[in-house]
Symmetry: D3
Amino acid sequence: MRSNGRNDDGLRPLKITTQTNKYAEGSVLIEMGDTKVICTATVEEKVPPFLKGQGKGWVTAEYSMLPRATQSRNQREAARGKLSGRTMEIQRLIGRALRSVVNLQALGERSITLDCDVIQADGGTRTASITGSFVALAFAVNKIALQHRLSVFPITDYLAAISVGIVGDRPLLDLNYEEDSKAKVDMNVVMTGSGEFVELQGTGEERPFSRKELDHLLGLGEKGILELIAAQKEALGPIALKIPAGQPGKEV
Amino acid sequence: MRSNGRNDDGLRPLKITTQTNKYAEGSVLIEMGDTKVICTATVEEKVPPFLKGQGKGWVTAEYSMLPRATQSRNQREAARGKLSGRTMEIQRLIGRALRSVVNLQALGERSITLDCDVIQADGGTRTASITGSFVALAFAVNKIALQHRLSVFPITDYLAAISVGIVGDRPLLDLNYEEDSKAKVDMNVVMTGSGEFVELQGTGEERPFSRKELDHLLGLGEKGILELIAAQKEALGPIALKIPAGQPGKEV
Amino acid sequence: MRSNGRNDDGLRPLKITTQTNKYAEGSVLIEMGDTKVICTATVEEKVPPFLKGQGKGWVTAEYSMLPRATQSRNQREAARGKLSGRTMEIQRLIGRALRSVVNLQALGERSITLDCDVIQADGGTRTASITGSFVALAFAVNKIALQHRLSVFPITDYLAAISVGIVGDRPLLDLNYEEDSKAKVDMNVVMTGSGEFVELQGTGEERPFSRKELDHLLGLGEKGILELIAAQKEALGPIALKIPAGQPGKEV
Amino acid sequence: MRSNGRNDDGLRPLKITTQTNKYAEGSVLIEMGDTKVICTATVEEKVPPFLKGQGKGWVTAEYSMLPRATQSRNQREAARGKLSGRTMEIQRLIGRALRSVVNLQALGERSITLDCDVIQADGGTRTASITGSFVALAFAVNKIALQHRLSVFPITDYLAAISVGIVGDRPLLDLNYEEDSKAKVDMNVVMTGSGEFVELQGTGEERPFSRKELDHLLGLGEKGILELIAAQKEALGPIALKIPAGQPGKEV
Amino acid sequence: MRSNGRNDDGLRPLKITTQTNKYAEGSVLIEMGDTKVICTATVEEKVPPFLKGQGKGWVTAEYSMLPRATQSRNQREAARGKLSGRTMEIQRLIGRALRSVVNLQALGERSITLDCDVIQADGGTRTASITGSFVALAFAVNKIALQHRLSVFPITDYLAAISVGIVGDRPLLDLNYEEDSKAKVDMNVVMTGSGEFVELQGTGEERPFSRKELDHLLGLGEKGILELIAAQKEALGPIALKIPAGQPGKEV
Amino acid sequence: MRSNGRNDDGLRPLKITTQTNKYAEGSVLIEMGDTKVICTATVEEKVPPFLKGQGKGWVTAEYSMLPRATQSRNQREAARGKLSGRTMEIQRLIGRALRSVVNLQALGERSITLDCDVIQADGGTRTASITGSFVALAFAVNKIALQHRLSVFPITDYLAAISVGIVGDRPLLDLNYEEDSKAKVDMNVVMTGSGEFVELQGTGEERPFSRKELDHLLGLGEKGILELIAAQKEALGPIALKIPAGQPGKEV
């Protein structure tokens, strides 16, 4: 049996608390089981140098874990003087995923930074960061839309992410830390509301995996993401209605 | 009038939530008005190189603000690749203050790191970090005491800190950010339960200050710290009884 | 038409030159079209601290591009004082992929570092690095096997990698730089000789992709990898025979 | 008895040599006993980015010790690649203290950097740096005033600093290294010519200190600073007359 | 006997392959025995800040060794986060030497960067870098001359470099690694086509050296450089004719 | 005419003050005209890792300029976070030169660090550092010899250094900053008491130089170094007698 009495295709208890920070344009505390991530969205009326003067906006992300988010304390990256490869990989992933559902032209020449700070980690922090950041991003974009009367709402579809993996021989949805550390195959799936893939990262940690296993894992991921997007809609309330129902196979 | 309808010698609403992290040996969320700091205590069975083999322990602290803890977003120190002077100054202060009420000999050859992560900042983050860290530290020390049956409880007195300052011509207790940014004189006071000073840092930001003004500010600080220590005792519950009532003028 | 008159499922001209460095335990110059990467394998009789005393070995990789490997000159990472996120991501991928076909126990307490230095870049440098590194690794492992009379040959299967992607609406194999920069979907596939996945990284750069498109891309990747592994066998000569024919679904 | 046969309220032999550097706009070698600090003032016709276009000037400080300024050699911070927390704390203190007696508006849009390089250290290097830097600063400001015919002399009062502390039970003025390393309480006092505090930093290194002890220490500090300011006036010669006699309680 | 059956005044087998990189404005692979260096020249239409607006150009160099260019693997400088003193010294030397035969005024406000990447090292990498870079530079300058119709060809003379040294008591030309590591005296000579010195760096590694020994070494160096310049001319083909035959004693 | 009414082959006024630091094992303030360098020698009873257990000692050097040692202020290398190429090159030169006259075997397993801190710079700081460091080194070695009763005095010869150069068409000895910045050719000469070369670094800054010019410059250097060594002997007093009169052409 899995912890919490979950089925193999079950998510952990999920909670999305919004507007947790009085300064940020959007903010969320997302809890998936014991994994807790604060996601804040900051809007700035400027873009990185490589985008200047093109009338387009930018969305980017940063990721960090508090030193004692995990079982034993990790040294701060600020103290070590540099970001680890893992951190860079994760924040590049989050930013890339979020940009895939933002119409940067419609956003106008401004940038939004999503800060994902992991308060407590129990597996799946990068996927929780994506799912939570999407909600914070939507709040921030809505604020811009209200202030600047944009003609098009710049978010083009819902977006959420989940981990799947093979533990022993069982494909499982939403691995916690204990499961993750025993997983033979590990995969992160990022999908849109229209059911298409934005990012797929699978790794045979302990052994390679077959095409059939891949298919099974993708099915689990799809199921989990549908549930996550339902929770996002609830958390967004009226903002949810502004996001178009993406259509499979259509370019956004 | 001050925000919250406070008097000049009033603290902001104070809330200390304990055991907020499932891994840390001690953890606290301290809220003073809109200032919110997570303090976690990590116990490790090793000491820094300069203390090895002396049978003594060590207590140290690290301090950081989430990028959007403030009105506008700050670049992460990990991204910049180094700690700012302000951060170093603050974490040295927190560690030094906490060590002043710990009997390092009684602690044995182990170290405790207090991580102070500011989730939201509205003035007084360094003093809130000290006040909150003391509680997290006491939980962690208690855990050690229970496991290792120490003959002496290694904490020798209570410890709390508060800011005071002169705004316009009015000496005020517990400045929020708006008051702090207008303050002509700014002072941080760290005191023990026995009413003695552990640290005193006063700066004439806009003008120097007289001996008489100093006396007034110290009076305010003393009043505030008594209230903070009362709140610490409540948060600590039975652990509170293990901490000796320090006596003025006695070496600890 | 694609450059070189290739079909959509065709590889670029491939050339693997072995033993290009007189000091390294294994060395390869791999050329895929205009992409050229030097891969050298260094054997050291020591392991990283986290593996000490476990009787197991380690395989890791580093990746770098010469400043003028690309159309315009890039600043050296040594001059900037830190590795980019892209570099870290790539070298983590290469190391992880290679370790998946090495029996670290059989290798014994020694480590092998694969240095992948891109002399000229025209798309697909990370997959060429994996494919070339596998050959350099096999030479180095063979050298160890000869010197230390290992009872088991520590490489458990072949390994190669290729990029696939969707340009316009056409799924293509082995994208060059020009194709890659226009690709709407981009995927790197790492597979073993037994036809199973070791790593799968797909990104919807310009739009999300459907399950059907994914299937198409995986088919292309599989075809390309079979051809790459044939070329590896030829380059390895008699060493090729020492590597077991991996069997799908079996743990290695 | 203290070294040099000093009384508890006595300063060490003090020597201020001016114009020791042929390039700097102001320069001083200050010796307090065996503590020797070179202070140079550099004037530049530019201000930091955050002050641009405001018509105001800036005063800042940097502090460093030669590697063999102390009993055993310290690694250079340039070799370690970063400033220590101690160095940052000290140079922030020196700059803040000096700015408190400079009318930045009257200085005009230019900046003055005080470099404090400790040639030999025997306790009290940060306070000697402040006292010496004030003299170097006054020479530099005078040079500006002569060249640019400023309508107001931008220095508004004298400024000096001294350490006091409690060794055993005796409150002492101007601790040397040996006394400092045994001190139970340690305090740095920065005062103006009008007898008001600019900065007060007291630390209970070995035990907390009472209000009564604080009062005693402040008295010692005040006595020492009066003597230091007298020496500064002598070193400044005619420039001394240009500095207003600050009045207690008045904003400058 | 020396390796390759060389005489004391003989160069190792020399090979200069040109246009080895499809992107760079000039590129060369120089091989001197087992020492192999890739030299690429990059032209950029901008100059460093200190030269802006002066109508002059700039020539600079960077030097690096692949990790396994030597018998044992060296850590990458990018991984260590900083350049070694040796690297800095070498790249300063290469840039300075090349600039001595370039008329920066005639080059116009553009800069040329020579990247010297050592693929395999067997002694004499810095002198091979200079000799090879000169050829890459000439190709790049020729390209500029053709595009911009410069009135004067900006290269003013040929330039090559070679190492000489005393091994045992024998002065030798062009030391390989084994000879270099036993050398008592080690010298690098950089000369122009007109037979004058541009740079001379001699070090008594194991013992000082006399004036007479110096004279002997300079003679060997001169002989070697004449041969190197002959090879450069051949590699340059028609470009060789555009470079003036420098005249001894004349300022260029 | 040159400044100070010097002849072309004249040194600037030279002053060597010894024992300027109360902690260091050897210390010197060397002044050559307006160039002033503090050289301190630190003895430590340990050697760098690469020498451990070989019974040999080590001599090394570090070099730094105070920010305002020059006409305009330079940023501190500690603030920039890394040493410049120029600094590394100079400190490598100083260490290498000093080691050439030290019998590291006779020194025993200990190391001596020479810190050269330039207080004021007016040309020739690296050669002044070598000349001054030799005296500080001799004091430190003498101290070791007295304490440890070494059988052989570990210094094998005198050592001094001077700059020479060609300004206009005139070869000059000991260039000051103004001369140095106009020099067409610039050379640093390091020689032993026995009149042999330890290091020779000549650069054609503005034009190449002929063999005849080289000979002229070497003659000037030799003359200057004889005078410097005479001054070193005077500064060393009785220690001077312990240093063997090196013999030309003999290995030390």
